[in-house]
Symmetry: C2
């Protein structure tokens, strides 16, 4: 369990990831009212068509954004990893246009929407940090749209695995990327626009080709370069260069 100061510190790190912060700005962030909440798998953090009243920084666990058609089909829009802000997208809009749900158990540093808005309205570097984060999110949406709209099943699934490995994986590409695949095959399907049955066939085929190994919930990608090329994966769209690696590492540790 974390105390309030260390939660606030996480917020500072989050805003600082997209550019250097002045001391006064850092102090202002530390003054933001915030609290830590935990939620179980499947818990909603944002509901479409609702007014969202809080912003949240994901401290641990994973979450996902999604929308549902009138017919009931679900499209997962992105995966939210620790260190990401959950709801910048509705900070300046009236009604939420998508849902955010916990993928497993999650821990979120919650900040009242109004307080964050006030801060953004008074400190430009806060507002531009938010804009930068929104730009990165948009970039990820674009790549996903390309993935869903214009790639075949093999490439779609491979691409998602590559993204997850890049964003979650401990960076030891020597023995191949390895990470816990928290998503069920049905959710993977909803993320790449396929049925769970077909996701299963594709993953088995990747396994047969030696591009993927599974033990329990953990996935290893032994031939990273090959999979990356086969999956048309280029990490430019993640814009991770904007993230100082120092912060990234420290954050992970703190979230334990």
């Amino acid at each position: 369990v974390l105390d309030v100061p260390s939660i606030s510190q996480k917020l500072v790190e989050c805003f600082g990831r997209t550019g250097p912060l002045g001391d006064d700005v850092r102090r202002a962030i530390l003054c933001l009212p915030c609290s830590l909440i935990t939620r179980g798998a499947g818990a909603y953090f944002v509901r479409e068509a609702d007014e969202s009243k809080t912003c949240g920084l994901l401290v641990s666990g994973l979450a996902y954004r999604h929308k549902v058609t009138a017919f009931g089909a679900r499209q997962i829009l992105s995966v939210i990893v620790p260190g990401d802000m959950i709801d910048f997208q509705h900070l300046f809009l009236n009604l939420a246009d998508h849902n955010v749900q916990a993928l497993g158990d999650i821990c979120v540093a919650v900040v009242p929407r109004a307080a964050l808005r006030d801060l953004a309205n008074s400190i430009p570097s806060i507002a531009t940090a938010i804009a930068t984060q929104l730009s990165i999110d948009a970039s990820i949406y674009c790549e996903w749209m390309l993935n869903v709209g214009r790639r075949n099943a093999q490439t779609r699934v491979g691409h998602l695995l590559c993204e997850l490995a890049t964003r979650l994986g401990t960076d030891v590409p020597a023995s191949g990327h390895c990470f816990e695949l928290v998503m069920t095959q049905e959710k993977i399907g909803d993320a790449v626009g396929l049925t769970s049955v077909h996701v299963n066939r594709v993953m088995r085929s990747l396994e047969k080709d030696g591009l993927l190994t599974r033990r329990q919930r953990f996935v290893t990608l032994p031939r990273w370069d090959e999979l990356r090329r086969a999956s048309d994966f280029n990490d430019r769209y993640l814009h991770q260069d904007r993230m100082s690696s120092a912060h990234a590492g420290r954050f992970e540790d703190a979230a334990r």
Copy 2:
């Protein structure tokens, strides 16, 4: 042809669309260096993997964002209509992650990226206006992803037509929405993740069902409510409530 003051005035309207502006802010925008350029159909305004050095306000004509897979398949990500900022998404990022291309002849008010960035870095309401616009763009991406990933061909095409009608159409829903369909069927296909051949079949079928009429490049949607329901279209994701209708109308006129 427009003179510099009236171009600057358009920038003020653009920033003012997401919230009221103070007089000082308005003056600051009017001081932005800007110039009007015209480009022919197919001209690139932004190229993926390039550094984008300018931001542009689309004054007249249409443009579209797109990405291309390694295999050469193209996905159109969104349509840019007059009054939209073209490249807020790369204002705070180093490298462009998608292309922006003119759909027909376009006229763009160009502002140097650095100048706009400086303005955002000094005036919070500018930065939050940009963040708001980015949020709306992101919302549109999300809906498109749902469209491409989880709807059938009929619904996808219908949904795109509904969006175009809403964003472009003269609002006379009495005789049905009517607008100029600038996109070829191939581009429509690239926008909704289908082949041009199938788009053609779907449009013919919509026409047969009386949901669509065409004369030259102009499209009429005579039974709007029916099409809207059949296409699972709800305009919430466009967040047009944030746009004061006064501005919207005036802008269109000025662009002539």
